[in-house]
Symmetry: C2
Subunit: 324 residues, 2 copies
Amino acid sequence: MTDIAMIEAAAARAAGVVRETPLLSSPFLDEIAGRPVLAKAEVLQHTGSFKFRGGWSAVSALDARTRAKGVIAYSSGNHAQGVARAAALHGVPAIIIMPRDAPALKIENTRALGAEVVLYDRAGGEKREVIGDRLVADRGMTLIRPFDDGQVIAGQGTCGLEIAAQAALAGVTDGTVLTCCGGGGLTAGIALALEAKAPGLRVRPVEPEGFDDTARSLAAGERTGHGAPEAGLCDAILTPMPGEITFPVLKRLCGPGIVVTELEVKEAMRLAALRLKLVVEPGGAVALAAALFHGSALDDGPVICTLSGGNADPELYAEILSGG
Amino acid sequence: MTDIAMIEAAAARAAGVVRETPLLSSPFLDEIAGRPVLAKAEVLQHTGSFKFRGGWSAVSALDARTRAKGVIAYSSGNHAQGVARAAALHGVPAIIIMPRDAPALKIENTRALGAEVVLYDRAGGEKREVIGDRLVADRGMTLIRPFDDGQVIAGQGTCGLEIAAQAALAGVTDGTVLTCCGGGGLTAGIALALEAKAPGLRVRPVEPEGFDDTARSLAAGERTGHGAPEAGLCDAILTPMPGEITFPVLKRLCGPGIVVTELEVKEAMRLAALRLKLVVEPGGAVALAAALFHGSALDDGPVICTLSGGNADPELYAEILSGG
């Protein structure tokens, strides 16, 4: 189980590779929120999202012989890119298993980051797990799960260590930390880091309307799904249910979940561009949306929000900036 | 005259206020350029451009009694915002003299940053200098010039100190530093800092096609204009001629100027959004455009480019991201 010692060990392995991302602010955002807002710019992490932290942590934690055989991930998104880049920087192979109908740009980017992409036919009933299991069995490769993995959570926790230190420098020791929450890896990692290093900062996970499995699970006290349709604007964080490993951490350490609308997410994306000069993808903007538009759900005091990823589809992004 | 001691003094006054902006990279940009590209993300500075460095330096260098009377700037752009914010953070008044036909958003932003905006009728023949001189005489306010000011140049030089330290950490001690060049304040400041701290890094100023007064002046060995029309995409850096104080520094320390097209600037803006997750305004993207598309004009080896500002007009920015 991930603990602060694992997070600190992940941080030591990450030194000089994982970027310390800045904690940014703007008086214009403070004005809208009616309180100080600090934004943790994970869009500036390698591969454009916090997922590189977890990927690097997991790959670097393997013993050298195991690592040399390579790693596998199932993903068409930020986790794939994070694992691919972490493997490439270690000089070991990575295979990313992606659906054949994934956007061409994502397939191309993942290859360009040095990974071998294996496509499977989702519509035709192929199972990615079968392909993955075969690679594990035949080639001794290691599967890196996107959030239910102790070393991945430890890697995401390095973001929490940075938040604790940077918030203290900014004079913030009491307040709310809003996280963009899918499976809960980032949220759990940050919550564990803050428990040890900044106990006055309380984590509140944020999700898009309709995909509020974490908020429901926290309210129910047990893992539950959301029953929403499959597709939504915030594709990076649309998981069906909190993780088995992550949820107990969230239950122990986090305040209630917060739910934002897609309109609020788009407005947060526009404000991040205008006021912070950052490109943020929909799933990476939910926490800022909560900071700006859901203040009544928060305790008084400053708020820190993760801008967790910036890999927006360029056409969709341009459309949203145009007011779409 | 600005020297390294003034720059280091400016850095000491800036500690804890001016942001140390990250030096970012992307394997995708390296691939396009065919060499390592490091981007100095000044868009993340307070007020969205490096101009806050110079504004803070100039305001903080005043003696307390003079400063208390307030400061003035002529500008409708980044310099105005930098000075306004620096004055507000010092708790002293700022008056920004702007043309009545300046974009409403710029006027509003400058006011929101705490400055009093005095509008003048450019078309009707009013002279901003007359208004400024009166405020200096009547109220004892101090005019802060955008580039021909020793303390402003010293402030911009703090960006050069950071580049020297960050490049060394990245293992880069020999290479080219491309600067977005208008009046030459940033270019001169960086060149002076690197002369002292990283003499293996040579500065090359970059300008947009048609507005190449610095390139022409460097070629001629004396200050000369460009004779281009008044308007252009890269509005933040369209000065008629290099500064009186800045040019001798550029002449002594910089390599030849580089000129990029507006099409190259737009492509650099799109790539900065896609690969670095940064919003860059046209004038802030010329150095990246040179790094990506003018490699044949550069010495071999790594290149560092300033992304000097991110205050793009939102509509224009969305249009450029859409391929316009």
